[in-house]
């Protein structure tokens, strides 16, 4: 791998930028590997990287139906945080945060991780009480959390409607200073390049069309580029989880696929230097380095495999953002898009062995997959290498619904549209 540094930048500038190597190879699939990961998004690529780095498994392939990072890794609103309340969740996401903090150095690739903080606004006294409880739960796990009053919120975010007659007056907020944003495409490219450098084959335009079985065991996959055999097959395909596992004969899962829309405004001068979430509805917004306001709200709330959304949600999100930050109503929208979320029945993910011997499952990320990318890959790699979960992902089993150990952060019940 060509190492990136200030020196390499200077040297390549002097030679007219003609000597840069491709960031990863484009190999043809081999007939067999030690492990296969289905899905070349953030979670699949980070799994491959940590399998190679932490477990010495380098004879592995990542199979991607389209082009690398064409799914949700390039469709999210780039937010990274670990402000969860339940210990099963916040330990995992805090490990992800720690991996994020060293990620650019680890990958030798600038993922533009910016710890600008995330501020959850509170609009009622009971919501502030709830934030205090969540903040305390975080601090018990060693995660940073600060409860802010109204004046401090107004000082930090000048664009907010803090008028006394606001439709939803702001009373305060919960701040996680170490949260922030990262450049999402760079995360996919950085993991791909670092995995490739350790010998991982990343195979694009290779759709899995079936699974190979011997006895009751999965021993490989059929693809549009031929059969590929491996004793371990990991599936990390987000919204397509039900579709892919149906090929293995798994007809029903605790997952529904829903479309989530995201939006970016025209670029403007710096106005918002942290991530802010609206507390009286569901809205999260930040400003990219290019100046665009990046924001999103609810899913469309019905099963969908279409990577585009409907207009009522667009209208809903726009009304929320213009109530919270009135200046946004005068900006033009640059573009919006949709991605397919694997909404689980309790709002928490699945990183587990099974559901068949030789098969491993990474799914159920709901809206929250991007921030989890490093820890998801790290834990999934552990699970695939050792055939048992790491303590960090031990709660994320597939059979927790059967056993009554659901991890329902929002307390919304078995309704995927509510998580």
């Amino acid at each position: 791998m060509q190492k990136y540094s200030a020196f390499s930048l200077l040297r390549n500038a002097l030679s007219g930028h003609r000597d840069w190597q491709p960031a990863w190879r484009k190999p043809d699939p081999k007939p067999a590997y030690d492990a296969i990961i289905v899905g070349g998004g953030g979670h699949g690529l980070s799994t491959a990287y940590y399998l190679a780095k932490e477990h010495g498994l380098t004879n592995i392939a990542v199979l991607e139906k389209g082009w690398l990072g064409s799914g949700n890794i390039g469709r999210n609103t780039t937010i990274v945080r670990s402000n969860y309340m339940l210990p099963g969740n916040n330990r995992f996401y805090e490990w992800s945060m720690k991996l994020w903090e060293g990620l650019s150095l680890d990958l030798n690739y600038n993922v533009m991780f910016s710890q600008r903080g995330i501020l959850n606004l509170a609009h009622t006294p009971s919501q502030l009480d709830d934030y205090a409880r969540r903040g305390n739960s975080m601090r018990l796990e060693g995660i940073d959390a600060e409860l802010l009053g109204r004046e401090e919120v107004a000082r930090r975010v000048p664009g907010l409607d803090m008028s006394p007659d606001a439709r939803f007056p702001v009373l305060g907020g919960l701040l996680q200073p170490r949260a922030g944003t990262a450049r999402h495409d760079a995360v996919a490219w950085g993991y791909a390049r670092a995995a490739d450098a350790r010998g991982v084959d990343i195979i694009e335009n290779c759709e899995v069309t079936g699974f190979l079985r011997e006895g009751g065991r999965i021993v490989g996959v059929e693809t549009t580029r031929g059969e590929i055999r491996a004793p371990k097959v990991g599936v990390a395909v987000a919204g397509s989880t039900s579709q892919v596992l149906r090929l293995a004969g798994i007809e029903r899962l605790p997952i529904e696929s829903h479309v989530l829309q995201a939006f970016v405004s025209e670029p403007v001068k710096p106005i918002l230097d942290c991530v802010v979430t609206f507390g009286a509805g569901h809205l999260y917004i930040s400003q990219s380095d290019k100046g665009g306001l990046v924001f999103g709200g609810d899913i469309d709330k019905y099963n969908s495999y279409a990577q585009r959304g409907n207009l009522p949600v667009v209208e809903h999100v726009m009304s929320e953002v213009s109530v919270m930050l009135p200046f946004v109503s005068r900006l033009r929208l640059l573009r919006n898009w949709g991605g397919i979320m694997d909404m689980s029945m309790d709002g928490s993910p699945i990183i587990a062995t099974g559901p068949l011997p030789g098969l491993y499952l990474n799914a159920g990320w709901c809206y929250g997959g991007f921030k989890a990318t490093p820890a998801s890959g790290w834990c999934f790699a552990w699970t695939m290498a050792k055939d048992e979960p790491h303590p960090l992902n031990a709660p994320f089993t597939l059979d927790r619904f059967q056993r009554g150990y659901v991890l329902d952060e929002r307390g919304a019940g078995p309704y995927p549209k509510m998580h």
Binding site: L253, Y305, A306, Q402, K417
Partner: protein
Amino acid sequence: MRIHCPCCGPRGVAEFSYGGDGTVRRPDLSVTDTDAHVAYVFERENPRGRHVELWHHIGGCRHWLLVTRDTLTHEITRVEMAGRFAGEAARMPGAGA
């Protein structure tokens, strides 16, 4: 997206609330096999394509509807009443007299 309510006619999707997969059936409470109850509460086929689902016309007649919709194209091919009015279907555009 527009849903042809058998009672109210074609209405915008914002008038409706989604009720999820309309094919799951709650097992009788005398069934002691937990797998049947787990399947009802938690497990879904989640197809890409034809999906029979429940919608509640909350901003209209408040009837529950069984809607057959394609989850990839959003094309709706059948809408009928659920519950005690079951069987009464909307006349869909292009379906003839």
